[in-house]
Assembly symmetry: C2
Homo-oligomer: 211 residues x 2
């Protein structure tokens, strides 16, 4: 199919083309350096049309990553309420997304493809730093030293990525078929520690679990 030249009328096809171009541009230049102007120009549309469809660079980025949930809705839900319950809520929502009839296959396919394509890895990285960390700081900046939040968030992502790979992608037993509440009960204390407890610094004795 040949691409038409010139400005396009606003329709679903245009929206899809903008998304496809945005995915390329974000993957190539990264979230920070990508601009609405460049994406619009490469999609042969006016920047105002990009904003008409996607409202902001942020929303356009999220749409281009094809996340099956909206971090703007989900992340604040995790951090609302008692901080002692944050870790539990986080695991529970994470499992719900992965086990949803529509969101599950969608996120599995995003993660699978990200694991094998360098460009998608940059999208995952940018998604994390531009979308997740900022919202965690919004949610927990009063409780935890804000400068520590990127490390805490990356540790949490390591446990959650791994849970997804072990349970849903590699299907390692018995974790793959364990009931949800045991998974929550087992994984939440790890996330709780990564979120709230002092992280050991090099040189400290790290042989034992914290007590």
């Amino acid at each position: 199919m040949k691409r038409r030249k010139g400005r396009r009328p606003g329709n679903q096809d245009t929206r899809g083309s903008i998304l496809a171009v945005a995915r390329e541009v974000f993957a190539e230049h990264g979230y920070d350096k990508a601009s609405i102007r460049e994406i619009a120009s490469k999609a042969h549309v006016d920047p105002s049309l990009v904003l008409h469809y996607f409202a902001s660079k942020d929303k356009l980025f999220l749409a281009s990553v094809q996340l099956p949930f909206d971090p703007d809705r989900v992340v604040p839900k995790v951090f609302a309420g008692d901080p002692d319950q944050v870790a539990q809520r986080l695991v529970r929502i994470f499992l719900a997304v992965w086990e949803g009839p529509i969101s599950g296959p969608a996120i599995a396919s995003v993660v699978r493809s990200a694991a094998s394509h360098k460009k998608s890895q940059r999208l995952v990285r940018d998604l994390f730093s531009s979308q997740i960390v900022r919202r965690v700081i919004d949610g927990l900046g009063d409780v935890v030293e804000p400068s520590e939040i990127p490390m805490r968030a990356s540790l949490i992502s390591s446990q959650l990525f791994g849970l997804a790979f072990a349970r849903y992608i590699f299907k390692i037993e018995p974790l793959a078929t364990a009931d949800k509440e045991s998974v929550v009960a087992t994984i939440a204390p790890t996330l709780h520690r990564y979120l709230f407890e002092d992280l050991p610094t090099p040189g400290e004795d790290s042989t034992k679990a914290p007590r």
Copy 2:
């Protein structure tokens, strides 16, 4: 290139063909149901030639997964000595494999491809259940209830897979560039808990880290 019919002479080419066939058969039938006899037959060689090159089904399986380390050498090293140091040694050896100039790229490519190919996912799963869990039971069966070891091992794999994805594949900062000893100090207590502490059962309060 056409495959020659009939029995092949023993040479490097034959070894490679056996490996390629073995990878297919293990991926299709799983480790348990795959047999040397079937692999030999599909590779048009005598079963004794398979054993000549690979010594056992176990070793053939390991060679076909292309792990850049030998679990027979590495896993006992982790479990030798003080159980309080097991988690630390495990993270340290895991990082050393991923950061080795030869083993690092090799394991990254195995894991990347496993993440996106169903057949390789079965290999990872079988590698885990047939190779890793058994050796952990050998190493820790006196210290930990053996029937709990598969769950403990799958939890550990979830954290280690996730560490690998976050640090080496998605390169999420600051975890991606944190110095090795901080990573050991931060991740080891998680593995220590998964290995040795009581795992919560559903219904228990799991909101707080264990104390």
